[in-house]
């Protein structure tokens, strides 16, 4: 079904329209009509009461394939993405083997195409094996069929300033960018959670906020010095926001993302010692959450990115220190973003679309994504029900893993349908099993 008439959808909160999609692209967009004659080969989707958003784009997804298919595969991860309203995800490079060659990034991209639930844009590693020593073959990955533009050693910080400088100079030639996991490693040796009053009491080694801020400050300077683009992954502290705001005011080519969990949860959650709340960078203080929310509204933080990090049960059903960091995000990110932007009654859908779709698509260079419906644009859309709520049940998620920190929580807003090039990947809130027509 790639010919669809989406009837009566509220287009990004700006008013109700009918959207006719033919051959995967928007053919017509017009006022709502009661008796429009519909051609036989066009499926009608009643979107009365629903908001149409450009399909969500995730800058930061761990799909775990190749290497940890027990935790997630490209297929299961992109099904989760579609369920969460995403039409494109950027797959982080820390697979096994690491995505540090043209071969691996092409493999991941091909798996994404075969799955058909969301466009998968591989991110290439900055350094071979994410070891932070020698540059990976960035040029080969850029010129490969996967056309990689974004490079990251995520999971690790590119902490060597020389390597970071060279990587920036290198990616600049094709307007690429480095997505930095900002964590000064010497300041976080053995770190388990945010350093502060809660870690002091719990006796868990602290991850000081300055370890993030010091790298962001350095990389802002390197971005300005080299003239290259730097993107900051999962910004988690109030002071990081200040540094990024000042850098942008000076014209530095820096962008930043925030994760849903950093917009909602705090380090108080660690009191349970349940590693489902262990994540890197860690959950911070209430004051940081407030500043991150304000920065997202303001646009100092450009995008919401999930840092979707599936983990097998044995990597979470253990003591805190032995657990792997990371939490699921794809299926809950939209709801949490709506909460962080004021809740379903107050949210400005245009700002939501900007932070979860248009801007991330622009940062990643995904030209067919992040576009509001206009005649000729690819039909990559999400229909959300702004008045519905749902309860997070880990066993009910499309991800192979269960490590969601929101289990049992009632969240606002449901995804009713997701369209990838006009084809429904999710319809009536359910994943479509047949994605190839």
């Amino acid at each position: 079904m790639s010919n669809v008439l989406i009837k009566s959808a509220d287009i990004v909160g700006k008013g109700r329209r009918d959207v006719l999609v033919r051959d995967g692209r928007v053919a017509e967009i017009g006022s709502v009509s009661e008796k429009s004659t519909v051609a036989k080969d066009v499926e009608v989707v009643d979107a009365d009461g629903l908001v149409l958003l450009p399909g969500l784009v995730d800058l930061h997804t761990h799909l775990r394939e190749p290497g940890r298919e027990d935790a997630e595969t490209v297929l299961s991860g992109t099904r989760a993405a579609a369920k969460g309203g995403y039409t494109a995800v950027c797959a982080m490079a820390n697979s096994y083997p690491v995505a540090d060659t043209a071969g691996v990034v092409e493999q991941v991209a091909a798996l994404g195409r075969a799955a058909g639930y969301a466009d998968v844009q591989p991110i290439g590693a900055v350094s071979i094996g994410l070891e932070g020593k020698r540059l990976a073959e960035i040029g080969a990955m850029a010129q490969s069929a996967a056309a990689v533009r974004m490079f990251s050693d995520d999971g690790h910080c590119v902490h060597d300033p020389v390597l970071m400088r060279r990587a920036l100079e290198y990616v600049k030639t094709f307007d690429g960018l480095v997505a930095q996991h900002a964590e000064e490693p010497r300041l976080t040796e053995g770190a388990q959670m945010n350093e502060g009053a809660v870690s002091a009491e719990l006796g868990l080694p602290g991850w000081p906020s300055v370890a993030e801020e010091a790298i962001i400050a350095r990389d802002v300077l390197l971005a300005e010095y080299t003239g290259a683009r730097v993107h900051f992954c999962h910004v988690s502290t109030a002071r990081s926001v200040d540094i990024i705001r000042e850098a942008k005011a000076r014209g530095a080519k820096v962008t930043a993302e925030v994760c849903p969990h950093h917009l909602l949860l705090t380090d108080e959650a660690a009191r349970s010692y349940d590693p489902v709340y262990k994540v890197n960078p860690p959950l911070r203080r209430e004051a940081d959450v407030a500043v991150l929310r304000a920065a997202l509204v303001e646009g100092v933080i450009d995008a919401v990115a999930t840092d979707h990090a599936p983990h097998a049960p044995q990597d979470k059903e253990c003591e805190w220190a032995a657990a792997r960091p990371g939490m699921l995000g794809l299926e809950t990110a939209l709801s949490i973003s709506v909460l962080a932007l004021g809740g379903p009654a107050e949210v400005d859908w245009d700002v939501l679309a900007e932070r979860t779709s248009r801007t991330p698509a622009r940062i990643a260079g995904l030209e067919a994504h992040g576009r509001d419906p206009q005649p000729g644009t690819e039909a990559n859309f999400t229909l959300v029900d702004p008045s519905a709520t749902w309860t997070v049940v880990p066993e009910g998620l499309a991800s192979l893993s269960r490590n969601t920190p929101y289990a049992g929580m009632e969240l606002p807003v449901t995804v009713q349908a997701t369209f990838l090039r006009g084809r429904a990947t999710v319809l009536n809130g359910k994943i479509e099993e047949e994605t190839h027509s």
Binding site: A200, G203, S272, Y273, D274, E317, C318, E319, W320, A321
Partner: protein, 306 residues
Amino acid sequence: MKHLLTTKELSREEAELILDVTEQMAEAVTGREVPKLPALRGRTVVNLFFEDSTRTRTSFETAAKRLSADVVNFAAKTSSVNKGESLRDTALTLQAMGADAVVIRHPAAGAPQRLTEWIEGAVLNAGDGTHAHPTQALLDAYTMKKRLGGVEGRTVAIVGDILHSRVARSNIWLLSKLGAHVRLVGPPTLLPKDIDDWPVEIGYDLDASLKGVDAVMMLRVQRERQNAAFFPTANEYARLYGLDERRLALMPDHAIVMHPGPMNRGMEIAAAVADSPRATITEQVTNGVWVRMAVLYLLLTNGESK
């Protein structure tokens, strides 16, 4: 009280009850030809130790045996370091064995709390990472009670590596709950960040902090911390924060010197101080058995039969 995980979660009444029962245990057993009570006959206590600590394990084992419990020692390896059996699988094994109580020592903070989610028996924390060591704090409080006549209103200086000390944390919560004034003394590198809300005074000058104390508690400091720049050298540490005879003389005559052991003689405590009559180190070991008897008894009988 189903488990004993931290002293923070104890109410003052519960803490005082434990100290009262400790006294009863000491009285009931001391002087007996066979120092044994039948209270826990037929009950199984498992010592689950993921860290080598013969002292603590022996203390718990002795306590359980004096209450006539069956004791199983289960030495285990940690999943994080040795990729051995996971804590959860070990818990399920113990559950299947029908353990009535599990005494756990683990290098990871929070491991005892995780254990309570997987087994039905009582969990007794015998030290988890740098988080808590509640029976150590209880035996320290009991020792103060015996030597100083009480805890309420007394001033206690806890000296040294507070950051890495579960003993310090457990003592801070317990002693302040029992009405003591607690002073923390150590180099700023070895004090946790953001502890303004803790019920303590903080000092960096040991000489000044010893004035007017009723007890000083010296914490073990690992020499290896100098390699991570927590202090320049062991010698400088001993000069600034070690308890020697000169400093002992700064303390009031009645004040006692405590140490949870094992000691680093010449580092945090001078040999002459460790061996002085004002040091309570061997009493602490003896009191440890009474306290652990009291806790096992209360956890396994809910204080119902005496």
